[in-house]
């Protein structure tokens, strides 16, 4: 194990010569940090942009950073800034953040069987950090390399992204107008490219491929629907497509 750690992160942990509990936790935490790093490439520019817009709107550095630290939800934070700019009331912004984050219900439901053995405090801690990026990493991890210390992997991924998101928000606020030009640098492609890559790595069978294609078509057709209805419709159709194909395949197997 010490060799694996040294190879991956250049950190020598001498006392990890045998596979102890603590080492396994530490290793999983490190692996989680390592897995989320490519996805922070897309998140950092957005966090900086969020900070820069907040600064332009006259929101203090403390409030900007506090929102990132406590909410940790990019789309909801951008929505809040947009609504604050046009004089939206706090109650309306909070209500809208429910709609914007409805997809997290789906993520949370998917993770439920994997997190069931954990204590309520662990589940609360991990669900706090359940962002799109973390879900992308964790869904792949649980399917391909789940272990008894996977929650440490989850914590590593969450805490890393949370740290970078919060720090980048503060940096964006401090650097202010210099960051506004970030839009012209072409980094807006980072999110679709990142999630597109994750989806490609998840497609292992025909049912998943067809479910993904169905979702893409439905998301495109429903792109102009308000309040993320297009997203909800597309994911529902994709899930239904995958489900029925799997059922059909199961029945065909039984017949054979």
């Amino acid at each position: 194990m010490s060799k694996i750690i040294a190879k991956n992160n250049s950190v020598t942990i001498a006392h990890c010569s045998t596979q102890t509990h603590e080492c396994s936790k530490l290793l999983n935490y490190w692996k989680g940090m390592h897995a989320i790093v490519p996805l922070t490439i897309g998140a950092i520019p957005f966090a900086m942009l969020y900070g820069a817009i907040a600064s332009e709107l006259g929101i203090t550095l403390l409030a900007t950073t506090a929102m990132s630290i406590l909410t940790f939800a990019g789309s909801a934070q951008f929505m809040a800034l947009g609504m604050l700019a046009v004089g939206g009331t706090p109650s309306l912004i909070i209500a809208t953040s429910v709609i914007v984050n409805l997809r997290h219900l789906l993520y949370s439901a998917w993770l439920t069987p994997y997190l069931a053995p954990l204590s309520i405090s662990w589940r609360a801690l991990l669900s706090f950090g359940l962002s799109d990026e973390v879900f992308a990493v964790m869904s792949r991890h649980y399917k391909e390399e789940q272990s008894r210390h996977s929650h440490w992997f989850f914590l590593g991924a969450t805490s890393t992204l949370w740290f970078f998101w919060s720090m980048a928000s503060a940096a964006g606020h401090i650097l202010g107008s210099q960051i506004q030009g970030i839009n012209e640098a072409g980094l807006e492609i980072a999110m679709p490219v990142t999630f597109g890559t994750m989806v490609t790595l998840m497609i292992k069978d025909r049912a998943t491929l067809l479910a993904t294609i169905t979702t893409c078509i439905c998301a495109y057709l429903g792109r102009n629907l308000p309040h993320q209805l297009g997203f909800i419709l597309a994911t529902s159709m994709g899930i239904a497509c995958g489900y029925f194909i799997s059922l059909y395949k199961q029945k065909a197997k039984v017949k054979k």
Partner: protein, 100 residues
């Protein structure tokens, strides 16, 4: 502002925590578990299409369309063959930045 931040934090946390908090109290029916197994690729691909649609709404010039198309093709193709994350993401971003 403090009420807004706390309100948003509690709301977002509640959405994320609600199904997970019920874990262990009930057994998920097999059908729902099977359907939910498609949630990760489906949810992420919906985000991709929604974001790309938004980008095309802002700028639908042929050069922009080509930059997006090539960027995605290269990153997805690299991901398919390398089975890694960092290389396809960097390649896709780089291609878009050059072509844009």
């Amino acid at each position: 502002m403090i009420y807004l931040i706390l309100g948003m934090a509690i709301t977002v946390f509640a959405i994320r925590f609600l199904p997970i908090s019920l874990a262990g109290h009930y057994r998920m029916p097999e059908g729902i578990a099977l359907a939910l197994s498609f949630a990760p690729p489906v949810a992420l691909s919906a985000i991709v299409v929604t974001t790309i649609s938004g980008m095309l709404k802002e700028n639908s010039s042929s050069q922009h369309v080509l930059a997006i198309f090539l960027s995605l093709t290269i990153s997805l193709g690299t991901a398919r063959f390398s089975q890694k994350t960092l290389l396809p993401i960097c390649a896709g971003i780089l291609v878009y930045m050059i072509l844009k």
